[in-house]
Symmetry: C2
Subunit: 331 residues, 2 copies
């Protein structure tokens, strides 16, 4: 038997989640049965999309269940195996979420090679957030060399990757973020312009026009970006973190009529529809990361018991780059 601690959903948050919406529990895991493996996690991931699953609303993924551990991305090592595909010692990324250890039947595991990059990157720049940036920018936004791309949430795991890919594709890139530290880091990444949206009016920052908007935040930023769109501009609708905790639906952009007159395209996507792009992504992004052309940063919180605080901090914008919780030893 292995003891593992896990975080369960205790109550459905109203608005910004509170620590009391979560509970820490200790469970005894059985030895893996035939075909199963026991995984000891090094990192669990907190991601903005998880907020939506905490509501009791049918969406593209089913809601989390009360009293159950929260599932989501995690990376760990197989420490006991009765599945020949996943021998003991293998590092894997999986979706069993906010726990120190988990028993898996082997489905939904992906191998991670710890000699190529830190295993934490499998949850960030070389994982789901990186693929989100890659697919969203290249397949949905389809920027052309010389175009101007605006990325909100530019210091986040997705936004920082999207902006750097746009630079590699020969675009002029503008980023917005919410603190001076974030602005400084995004500037280091090579964005052409970066502004703190608390201090600079977004409309003013975009007054010269944009061709692609990679939207991580929604709300008034989306309205400002639509207003700045050039003819045949595109909005990559990736997320709307400004609204995830809204208790009633705020009005949409008042200038949506510009979609007609400027022939705009606003298109949403969910990264899990695009896993067929994972091999291309890993080849490109792995190369860019190795060559230092795409840089990343992580904000790491220690201890499974601090996962809810890390998640709440993420929604409040406390992170620079990928927000992770370290729950066990790394390679």
């Amino acid at each position: 038997m292995t003891t593992s601690r896990e975080i369960r959903l205790a109550a459905r948050p109203r608005g910004m989640p509170q620590p009391s919406d979560f509970e820490l529990a200790e469970v005894e895991l059985p030895e893996p049965g035939e075909g199963e493996v026991l995984i000891r996690n090094a990192f669990v991931s907190v991601d903005p999309y998880m907020r939506g699953r905490m509501n009791d609303v049918k969406s593209y993924v089913p809601p989390f269940q009360l009293g159950e551990p929260l599932t989501g991305g995690a990376v760990g090592q197989v420490v006991a195996s009765k599945n020949p595909q996943w021998p003991e010692g293998t590092w894997v990324v999986h979706n069993l979420g906010w726990r120190e250890a988990a028993v898996s039947d082997g489905s939904g595991l992906l191998p991670v090679d710890p000699s190529l990059a830190p295993v934490s990157t499998a949850l960030g720049v070389l994982g789901m957030p990186g693929l989100t940036a890659y697919v969203g920018l290249l397949d949905i936004g389809r920027p052309q060399e010389g175009e101007t791309v605006f990325v909100s949430g530019a210091a986040g795991a997705v936004g920082s990757a999207a902006g750097q890919i746009a630079k590699l594709k020969g675009c002029r890139v503008i980023g917005s973020a919410g603190t001076q530290d974030k602005v400084a880091w995004v500037r280091e990444l090579g964005f052409d312009e970066v502004f703190d949206y608390h201090e600079t009016d977004t409309r003013e920052a975009l007054r010269e026009g944009i061709d692609v908007y990679f939207d991580n935040v929604g709300g008034s930023t989306l309205e400002a970006a639509i207003g700045a769109m050039r003819t045949r501009g595109r909005v990559v609708a990736c997320g709307a973190i400004s609204q995830y905790n809204a208790t009633e639906l705020p009005p949409g952009p008042r200038n949506l009529f510009l979609v007609v007159t400027r022939r705009l395209r606003i298109e949403g996507f969910i990264v899990s529809d695009h896993y067929d792009r994972f091999p291309d992504f890993l080849a490109d992004m792995g190369g860019w990361v190795r060559e230092g052309k795409v840089r990343y940063r992580e904000t790491i919180v220690e201890g499974i018991e601090n996962t809810p605080a890390a998640f709440i901090g993420l929604l409040q914008g406390d992170n620079i780059g990928k927000m992770l919780v370290k729950v066990g030893p790394e390679p």
Copy 2:
């Protein structure tokens, strides 16, 4: 010299245009000079997009100028010619707008064959509104057989054509309109379901879900359609007649976040970007009209002096099918 009466913009409308925003003037046209033709119009067109040009706002077409005749679609016959390309007797469609007669240098004319269809159709089902329906539905909406298509403004020139094309492509088609007479006609056209949006809540009418929304009206109908969208649904953003007379910008759809979770695409277009599709359109639509597979209707007002009233009536929804003003003899 030829006497012609024309309608000029006397004042920029605030909200719904008033008769006093227009003035009737009489002008003497010179004989056509070298390379020029004199055209006597049979019909002039009133179209919703013209409302936007009455504002002093830069858009995809420049604003109308105060004191100048309003330009726009018209069909007429060359009655004097010093341009061998356009001999006397030729019927043409042109963009010189709200006047009984006009002198043209021959640019921007398209020939019309009066033996194929009534010349008025060159302003409707076989002209700009028909092409708008064709390109918007097929190239932007891209409906698949078996999908459900919702068309607002379904009794209008564009909406009635879009819905019938969707039926020909094997779709289930729902239409909305604003009077019982319109509903009855749209039902005759073969739409699967038609409702009067004054009497039926649009959300209720769409409760079984839609795949494509051909949007002619914007506003709350757009919000309801987004709410009814199935995964990977598409909004063809063609027009927003509900908002053309708004004096301040109303809030946009509150449920725009569904664009992400349902992977929606909202895409605007302007028909003049798609004139390369005119030959395909004429071949397809000409055939469908001849075979009775696409039907059309016209609401015809008599006399150039009644053009402003026809235009105001159009914005108020007085028309069934294409709204036209008859200003001279037909073939």
